[in-house]
Symmetry: C2
Subunit: 472 residues, 2 copies
């Protein structure tokens, strides 16, 4: 159904005039899309102030048969928050209160619209640590992180967003509120409803609040950049680091030589500290809340052993917080650095950790055979088996001509990933970008189960339709 | 529908004669129930050898309209594996192979019928550690652990069974097989289907295989029994232990004086090591995979600090593996020791960790007011906020007269738990024992969502009907 003036009046009566945006300039930030692949079209953005208002808006939309695109910080990379001209964007941005903290229970209860970085700071204030950390953390909202089950750099030790959530409050597609806002480590009183909404990308309901786990505050952190000549050695290095450290490895990031070169070339303050070039680098971090743990001694003994084993061939240990920041700036700036080199065809894939070397070897050979001159720029969270297999265009090639190969390259890379029992969307989700791709690859039984759930929970099909799964 | 001779012939044709048990003596172990609260009635037990046979049996049952009770080790405490005379028991016991291990990926892929203790040993062989541990581990099967999302003694550090599972293979209620057997740390390609089957108690499908997470093998473990005079100090002690140790606290078990007395009275080799009696004891364990971590020094410094703070008033540290075993024997033997003192009314509840002292204070006062002479015997996993609030009958009271108070006591305890935003079934599940109880306490929206899922996924209602949720 179309959004009529009468319906806009209904919305205004529910949330107030100021919370219903219809001017083009007001709507603009909600219609852009991170990668420029899509353009939102919604004629209206509604900004409710609380859960009751979200429920009232959803009920009005359900009654009118108008579909809803829930939106957090609008930083998603798969078009999950992109709207059509018949749709209403429901933005959670005004719901940004921390509802409560409990340092003894190691939890905080928060509104869905809280900015991730603010929650990291809130945990700090509790003397605790909230480990979810990713590039968009200054803008993205926890509701979006939950809806997409965001990953990031600390998944190896602390899990995905799903693993950091004890309870949820959700507005269902008919406007009822499910209060699952429990702060419990154990609760076996029925189906795990929260796990449907986490990673559901707003297609089954709208997350309005959450109970999040926090951890003891970190007392010490050690960071190093290591040079590795043999990709096959990287996964053994990780396994060794986990055992050696008492599972204190909190980050283990792979950077290819080309990605490293781009970072050195285009990011301020990033330089190559090594005398020679190496095909692969690993950014490794140990951290602990234990005071006086001599983490530095442990870290150095681990590095020495790995050096003696011939697994690492060179390395630098950060000697200050500033050096730690620089190392992370290098790693996190890779996507930005890539932009200076023309177009990029991107993949967010995962395979078992033990299969990462084989995946890289096979996939690099296959894409370079397809397009001589291609400049592969793989990097990512090898500790989770998650590689951002990004491919920078050949020098001098026409950008559009290159991007026309997107599906072709996807097919080559994703075929290898699926053959290796991997995932074609490790942490970015499905959105609309990968709806057809998962239908192509997934077992029909799984797609059918997903459709069954979608139809059962959103029979009118008004919740972010066309995202994740397309009911048939 | 009734199980006819013709249907038995069909079953025999699918799995072979030997795998279809109809003799009363053969069926007996599948019909008993741990606590003696129920008695199974199924005229037949089917024991398929592999996933294809499970699928064939389920399809035959679906076609014939005969309902199925999936059964693992039959150690559940809520009647979830108890059958009626019109039902078929499908036992997973013959599916007990480890399908593969991957020490670099820290995973093992297993059949659902593997005994938990065998999987702990399998992880050991990999140089790794599988942390799921609970009283029934010598008999229970991992498929049952997954279906009930079992808890146990290491949840504080490693999570529930749910958190130890990366992928599942499931036979659906129509006999199709869902292959979600992925060994991935990250996979955001759609709804989290596995989380419906985990904790689903066999009402949505039958788990036939799983990919489990393992951890680096433990290098050192330190265990102590601490005496605490003030229950309010216990949760602060835990928070301190988590920070102090770098989150190396792997167990933190509360034992009341009465539970401790019963253990000393009825368990061989258990003695009170302290000069004075104390109202509460804590069994605390630190462990790490880090070699040469000086965990002992850390442990002692922690205990000294807690002693100086006045939080703990006495304590003994285990000096040998044998002493560690004795301490755990005391803790794990409490339910057994209780049996010597007559009937027990039991509760498996959770509240936020920070609320445990308030819960105990309120609940103890309430039940003792209801029945003077009652001997409360609380103990449990305070690190998860999970208390086994068991109530031993007054001395000399008639057993049946006492057990007639079961629902009365449940109401008193569960009212307090729910008021404190807790769970009335922390780790044992719903089964049939608590179906009405969760309807009594849960929000109607939540029960409705659960029914919607049950009907959508099992439209014929043949999968363990009457357990978890009763469709209306």
């Amino acid at each position: 159904m179309a959004v009529t003036d009468a319906f806009l009046s209904t919305l205004r009566s529910l949330v107030g005039d100021k919370a219903v945006l219809t001017d083009a300039s007001d709507r603009e930030p909600y219609l852009t899309e991170e990668r420029g692949l899509y353009r939102g079209q919604a004629p209206v953005v509604v900004r409710p102030a609380n859960t009751a208002e979200v429920a009232a808006v959803v009920k009005a939309c359900a009654d009118a048969g108008i579909s809803i695109v829930p939106q957090g910080g609008n930083t998603g990379l798969c078009g999950g928050a992109v709207s059509a001209e018949t749709q209403v964007i429901l933005s959670l941005g005004r719901m940004n209160k921390v509802r409560g903290v409990d340092p003894i229970n190691f939890t905080m209860t928060v509104d869905a619209g809280c900015i991730l970085q603010d929650l990291q700071a809130e945990a700090d204030k509790m003397g605790c640590y909230f480990p979810l950390a990713l590039g968009a953390q200054g803008t993205c909202q926890i509701g979006g992180n939950l809806s997409t089950n965001a990953g990031g750099i600390n998944v190896l030790r602390y899990g995905n967003t799903r693993d950091l959530c004890l309870g949820l409050e959700v507005v269902l597609p008919d406007g009822r509120v499910w209060d699952g806002l429990r702060a419990l480590g154990k609760d076996n009183t029925g189906y795990a409803l929260k796990h449907l909404f986490i990673g559901g990308e707003g297609t089954l309901g709208i997350i309005t609040g959450a109970v999040l786990k926090v951890y003891p505050g970190l007392a010490e952190r050690q960071t190093a950049l290591l040079a590795v000549d043999d990709i096959n050695a990287v996964t053994a290095l990780l396994a060794k680091a986990r055992s050696w450290s008492g599972d204190a490895v909190t980050a283990f990031e792979l950077v290819s030589r080309f990605a490293f070169e781009l970072a050195c070339r285009h990011l301020s303050g990033v330089n190559d500290p090594f005398e020679e070039a190496h095909p692969w680098y690993v950014l490794v971090e140990f951290s602990t809340s234990r005071p006086n743990a001599d983490l530095r001694g442990l870290f150095e003994s681990f590095l020495e052993a790995a050096f003696e084993d011939g697994i690492i061939v060179d390395g630098i240990v950060a000697e200050s917080l500033e050096q730690t920041r620089q190392l992370w700036h290098m790693r996190e700036g890779i996507p930005e650095a890539q932009k200076h080199e023309g177009a990029s065809i991107k993949h967010d894939v995962a395979v078992p950790v033990s299969s990462v070397p084989e995946f890289l070897t096979r996939a690099l050979a296959a894409v370079c055979e397809r397009l001589p001159g291609l400049r592969p720029c793989p990097f990512g969270h090898v500790g989770d088996g998650n590689i951002h297999f990004n491919l920078t265009q050949p020098v001098g090639m026409d950008k559009d001509e290159y991007l026309a190969l997107w599906e072709d390259m996807n097919r080559i890379v994703h075929d290898i990933v699926v053959e290796m029992k991997g995932s074609i969307s490790a942490e970015h989700g499905v959105g609309q970008l990968k709806v057809e791709e998962i239908i192509h690859y997934k077992d029909a039984v799984e797609i059918d189960l997903m459709r069954t759930l979608k139809v059962a929970m959103d029979p009118k099909g008004i919740m972010n339709p066309g995202k994740v799964v397309n009911p048939q």
